[in-house]
Amino acid sequence: MSLRVILFILVLLPFSVVSFLNIYSLRGVTSSYEENLQTSTRKSVDYIRREIDGLASDLDGMAVHLSRPREIVHALELADNEELFDWSVSFTTNVDSILYADIDGIVLARAPDEYRFGDDIGNTAYFQQTLAAGVYQGMTTVDGKMALVTCRVVRKYNDVPVGITAVIVFITPEMLSRLLPGTGMVLVARNSRTSVASDSSDAPVRSSFTLTSPFSAAPDPALFTVQILEDDSGESLHSLERSFLLNSVVAGLVVLVIMFFIARRHLVPYAEIARTIMAYSRKDIDLQVLQTRIEKIGSHKGPEIHAIARALIKMTNLVMANFRDIESLNKKLKAQAERDHLTGLLNRRSMDIVLTREMERVSRYGSPLSLIMADIDHFKHINDEQGHLVGDQVLCAVSESLAAHSRVTDILCRWGGEEFLIVCVETDLEQAVACAEKFRRTVAEGLQAQGQTVTLSFGVTSCQTGESTDAFLARVDSAMYRAKEGGRNMVVGI
């Protein structure tokens, strides 16, 4: 899993957990609030139902009390307005109107309007139903207004109807409001034709409940509807919940985006550096390319990357320096492995490799190849007489002379103690002998050791077709010995 992914997870996971826990907790609070609200709503609806039932019961009780006294029966029979008014006016504290009407529907008395009587209610539904059924309790229109009307028949001898009494409560917003336990709800009273509400505002309704009531007399029974208004607190909680959720999502997205850009700006260079290093480790690139890439990465990024890039570049510089040192050392070691440490000429081992290579070229292309073997005359004597130090000096001087007068294509080596082998490529025997002669003369004329002239004996031969390297060397060695035996300081070619 990449660092980027790990960082994303490290940042988003706690954020997500915290957000989830908070949303869960808030949801719990909201649920609890809604439960309480439902409980409260049920209690309120029950309260209102009881209030309406209580009102119906009170009005009916009042109608019953106002229908039974003997004085009222007598007063209805005699059309005694004063008696009927005195009875009804004492009960109008909690109701809007009480009237008495005779059997024909003529109102004989109406409280609290002392001088409003004589009108005919005989055609009203509540009068007719009261006479028919003995009782009426319903919602109807009285004096052009919606009213709850409760009626009872007044009977003589508890038998013969002599009139009715009607207890009237006008349905007004204030009256309906008094039936409510508190704020936050509206009570609507309605029948098929009209309705009255305790509050006419257009506040949004959360839920509504329809209640039946004792005011259910036909033909237009009354219905009461309790409307529970939207609660600001609940809406605030829901709004908070939605906001929190939205904010969490937005915050999460913002964090993601920021993390993306941060990762892009700050983590990608690390990945690039890692990839570059890994490419180097796979040997897909060399150190120089690595350094170039690191330099490029570090040049465009933040200070940390820049510092890392600088450090890496320094490191690569050190490594390259080390490599150069190693290479140099290797070269030296190689040189040491390939060269004679005293004279600097190729050593025998290296010359074997050269010979093998040149012999292969001769066998492939048939080009001429000659060998010159030189041996320092009386070298043991020099060592013995003048010491090894002088001997070494002679060796070095001979090497230098041979190297200085050799051709570019000649390959020189110290073949043995005081023996030197020169490979002359593209050189036949005659040419090789000439070269050897030049070598002999130069050394003989130029080198002296402690006052004594140093000379060399040269054997020269050319490679024959199909000849092996050993045979070739044997012949040149043989030639050199002939030179020794011929008196030294001479060249013998065979």
Binding site: L78, A79, D80, N81, E82, E83, D102, D104, I106, L108, Y115, R116, F117, G118
Partner: protein
């Protein structure tokens, strides 16, 4: 000294004992009871001053209560309207006539012991005669009232009208001023009331009523004593009432408060009410 003191004390006792009675005077509620009580308190104070008795005024609930109480003696003296006097005298012959209430006639200005019953409508009712009251709403005062029921009822029947058949509905409003007010407000179309009530309304509201019919003169109210009241007491109160000036505070209050044109009392006798008996067919 002791003898003199004793004699003086005995005279004092005799004097106060002979006249220091508690007398209750009851009146029928033909008008607003509170207003009646107000004027009757003045009436009682006058009599107390004239007689030396402790006089208290009582306004009964209705005519029936007044008659019952004079019968049972819980009221000593009663102010009865004409009808109730005639009926009570018939039922309780032992009641004792004291005096007759008199008024100043609003039309002639004469002081007379008579008044009239009026059948009245509003000027704007469109009803110009009794006949045009057919199917309308009619009100009496109380079936115990002389000018509020008995004489208007006779007047209607004399004109061939059975009120319970002729009118849409007959309502009893129990008091003359209630009939007048109901008429004024349009609650009824035609109503029966005393002439005094009519004239009171006229003074208060102007010419808003029309009289459709008037009764024959009706003897005014009688003040009577129960059978338990002594003859001397009766004479004492008769004299006191006879001596009341026309402009006495009581009379002024009767006019101001009740609208009755009270002018005091004069002494007649039981036979003065025979015309009522004849009218009622008794």
């Amino acid at each position: 000294m002791a003898r003199i003191f004793t004699m003086v004390f005995c005279v004092f006792l005799l004097t106060t004992g002979a006249y220091a009675d508690t007398v209750k005077i009851g009146i029928y509620p033909s008008n607003d009871p509170a207003k009646l009580q107000q004027v009757m308190d003045i009436f009682a104070a006058y009599l107390e001053a004239k007689t030396g008795d402790a006089v208290g005024a009582i306004v009964t609930r209705d005519y029936n209560e007044l008659m019952r109480r004079i019968q049972d003696g819980s009221i000593d003296i009663a102010w009865l309207n004409t009808l109730n006097y005639v009926r009570l005298k018939k039922d309780l012959p032992t009641i004792q006539y004291i005096s007759t209430y008199i008024e100043r006639n609003e039309i002639t200005g004469n002081i007379l012991p008579f008044y009239q019953a009026y059948i009245v409508t509003r000027n704007d009712s469109g009803i110009m005669s009794l006949d045009e009251g057919r199917g309308k709403l009619f009100a009496f005062t109380d079936n115990g009232s002389t000018s509020g029921y008995a004489f208007p009822n006779m007047l209607l029947r004399k004109n061939g009208i059975d009120p319970h058949r002729f009118f849409k509905k007959v309502i009893f409003l129990k008091k003359h001023d209630r009939v007048a007010e109901a008429l004024r407000r349009g609650a009824i179309d035609v109503g029966a009331m005393s002439d005094g009530t009519y004239f009171t309304m006229e003074r208060k509201y102007g010419d808003i009523f029309r009289v459709l019919a008037k009764s024959d003169p009706i003897p005014l109210d009688a003040v009577v004593a129960g059978e338990t009241v002594s003859e001397e007491k009766v004479l004492l109160y008769r004299k006191a009432l006879q001596e009341m000036p026309q402009d006495h505070r009581f009379c002024r209050n009767m006019r101001e408060v009740l609208g009755w044109s009270a002018a005091g009392f004069e002494t007649r006798d039981d036979s003065f009410y025979d015309s009522v008996r004849q009218a009622l067919g008794d």
